[in-house]
Symmetry: C2
């Protein structure tokens, strides 16, 4: 009984340590290829910049960053340090029913992440990628497109498109 | 000398208390009509929602909220409690040079605030308004337009246009 209790406490402690050190939820699925899970509390992160994407997607977007990423942005640090995480939230954009010239967020579409870990993701520029739809990771085919596009277009900005909007 | 030192200490202390209790910077100007100053640290507040404004303004926008406002949004509290502050950041939107379908923030244009104080602003629905351009308040004529538009269009949402984007 005492031994079982000790074992249980160790398991609970190990789970807690894992949660704290990885900063990810124990539940939910991870992205194919990269194994990135949705980070806890990302909706409360600070704003890097909004964006709009034209047809056919027709989306409004906002890119948020965790504390490590925000500190790097504000200091102009490149490459981003390990532990930086960027979150891109996207919604269909619809005309405001209350103010005609404005487009506002409609239904949420995807939530995407970039996680910096220069050892774990050494083969992919130090970044792990993830795209979630309704809280579930998109398929492997979608995740195979991330790196090539980022490498082709923003190699000089540590593979990150979004700049800080002052 | 001693008396002067005491007086100086009292003045400094009073200024500090004012700064802490009002949450506004002692420097900078206040908006006409409402006397709203730029709140300290608003750029680090959490995101309520992005938006886009069509021609002739052609802007990308992001509305941020202080902790009191965010708590109210997440709990669905209406009217917003005293102390709620909303910040609307706006930028010209320009085509991304790196990803053609995307529009991203260009030059910053205005920063606007709504400050809830049901006593101080009893005559204007409990809200004080402010629009800043390059850190300076816009003129009185611009501030005379705020309330009428908000009252005409979003009376049922405590005069606030922006909804929380999940």
């Amino acid at each position: 009984m005492n031994s079982n209790g000790t074992t249980l406490r160790r398991i609970v402690l190990a789970g807690f340590v894992l949660l704290v050190t990885t900063g990810v939820r124990a539940d939910g699925d991870a992205s194919p290829i990269y194994g990135v899970r949705m980070p806890e509390g990302y909706r409360n992160w600070q704003l890097i910049a909004p964006a709009q994407e034209a047809a056919p997607l027709n989306e409004l977007r906002a890119v948020l960053g965790n504390d490590i990423a925000m500190k790097a942005y504000r200091a102009g640090t490149l490459p981003f340090p390990d532990g930086s995480v960027l979150a891109k939230l996207a919604w269909k954009h619809v005309q405001s029913p209350e103010f005609e010239p404005a487009s506002i967020p409609g239904a949420a579409t995807t939530v995407q992440f970039m996680v910096k870990d220069s050892k774990k993701y050494a083969a992919t520029g130090g970044w792990g990628f993830a795209r979630f739809i309704d809280g579930k990771p998109a398929d492997e085919a979608q995740h195979q497109t991330c790196l090539a596009c980022h490498q082709a277009r923003v190699k000089d900005h540590d593979l990150v498109f979004t700049r800080y909007a002052p």
